[in-house]
């Protein structure tokens, strides 16, 4: 391949990937580091412990939901959606990695202590060596996938909410959080688009697809309220201008969801919110969380000195 003149070869779209080093072909080239050139010091007026706690919340939402969505791999209705859901899962995993790393940098005391000589980086220690009660994700993301109808309904509400959140976070006074959010906005915009299109397609498809979607929406709707409840940490993060009070995006999310529901010809579910106050944000999780963590963490925990 060395003798190839890349500018003259248009027979394959893959040729453009070979920036300089052909040995990297399988992984593509021209990667962008979302944190390139970003000042990583904690800004004045920001409490490191609160910043860490806040990053854990956003990071755990992404991490746990990424794990749930990854369960669709090889099980989706068809190959195309298998890959689509895996891509979405990987996008969220990438966000989780950056957010957990930021949490560890802002307050190293949140990172579980591993045996001396362990090569596990702080973000991995946070993901794989924390116990259930230390996770700060909402219960909404830990619930089992259900069928494709439930999955699409859950993804629509989650990505609509997270997109509104990240759009505001892009103006965070913490430059790292702002950069992570800016990268996430592009990813989650696609997730919302994907979920919205499937939502309408299922609603206007067959009798069976519509029935399953309506049932799925009724399943996730009561749990959604938890995403908009503001915990103490989020309130302090908003005060210090690096975070967002999730209640403030409620109206925007509502308007988007209303639009999708109208397009799909589906009525807003009339079901009460489940639970009160922040649940998962204070470490109180549902039964499903323990099993999810067991599967996600078992290999890493068996090898605390392992290199990956």
């Amino acid at each position: 391949m060395d003798s190839h003149d890349l500018d003259l070869d248009h027979d394959s779209v893959y040729d453009g990937l070979l920036g300089g080093d052909a040995s990297q072909w399988a992984f593509g080239t021209d990667f962008e580091d979302p944190l390139a050139g970003v000042d990583t010091t904690i800004p004045a007026g920001v409490d490191g412990a609160v910043l860490a706690a806040y990053c854990l919340m956003l990071g755990d939402d992404a991490l746990v939901y990424a794990h749930r969505l990854s369960e669709w791999t090889s099980n989706a209705p068809d190959l195309e959606d298998d890959i689509a859901l895996a891509n979405i899962s990987l996008d969220l995993l990438g966000q989780a990695r950056l957010l957990l790393a930021r949490a560890a940098a802002a307050d190293p005391s949140v990172v579980p202590v591993l045996p001396d000589g362990s090569p596990v980086p702080p973000e991995d220690a946070l993901a794989f060596f924390r116990d259930e009660s230390a996770f700060r994700n909402v219960r909404y993301v830990e619930a089992p996938n259900g069928d494709f109808g439930v999955t699409i309904a859950r993804l629509l509400l989650f990505s609509t909410h997270r997109l509104a959140l990240l759009q505001r976070l892009a103006a965070s006074v913490d430059p790292v959080l702002a950069a992570i959010a800016a990268k996430g906005v592009k990813e989650v915009t696609y997730h919302r688009d994907y979920a919205g299109r499937w939502f309408v397609t299922l609603a206007r498809g067959t009798e069976e697809s519509r029935r399953r979607l309506v049932a799925g929406l009724a399943t996730v709707w009561p749990m959604y309220a938890e995403l908009t409840r503001c915990s103490d940490v989020e309130a302090r993060a908003a005060e210090q201008a690096f975070g967002v009070d999730p209640a403030t995006v409620g109206d925007e999310v509502d308007a988007v969801v209303e639009h999708v529901l109208a397009t799909a010809g589906i009525e807003r579910p009339d079901v009460p919110a489940s639970g009160t106050g922040p649940l998962g944000r204070t470490g109180r999780h549902s039964e499903a969380m323990g099993r999810l963590l067991a599967e996600m963490q078992v290999v890493a925990r068996a090898h605390p000195l392992g290199k990956w």
Binding site: D7, Y14, F31
Partner: protein, 96 residues
């Protein structure tokens, strides 16, 4: 309306970062045209391959048949005078 057992097949063309043309990269099934584009993005551009996608329903493509190979293509085989090989091309002319 009859229920179709399978989604229609789409052929996918991607223009690479440095490519001039869209190039056929494969095919996929999708529920409708817009979903075909989304699926193509997920299936064929997840490793940073492209900057533009075309999706075309496979049944809308008019294709030549292998049976017609001789009448269609063989006659061009011996018309050497149709190739403009008698011109000198300057070194700095690309994409010829």
């Amino acid at each position: 309306m009859t229920v179709q057992p399978e989604w229609p097949l789409y052929e996918i063309f991607v223009r690479g970062k440095r490519g001039l043309n869209h190039v056929h990269v494969g095919s996929l099934h999708a529920a409708d045209d817009e979903m075909a584009l989304r699926h193509a993005r997920d299936v064929y551009t997840r490793r940073n391959e492209g900057v533009s996608i075309w999706a075309v329903r496979a049944d809308l493509i008019v294709a030549s048949s292998p049976d017609e190979k001789d009448p269609l293509f063989a006659p061009a085989g011996d018309k050497v005078y149709r190739h403009p090989t008698f011109y000198a091309i300057p070194d700095d002319v690309p994409h010829m």
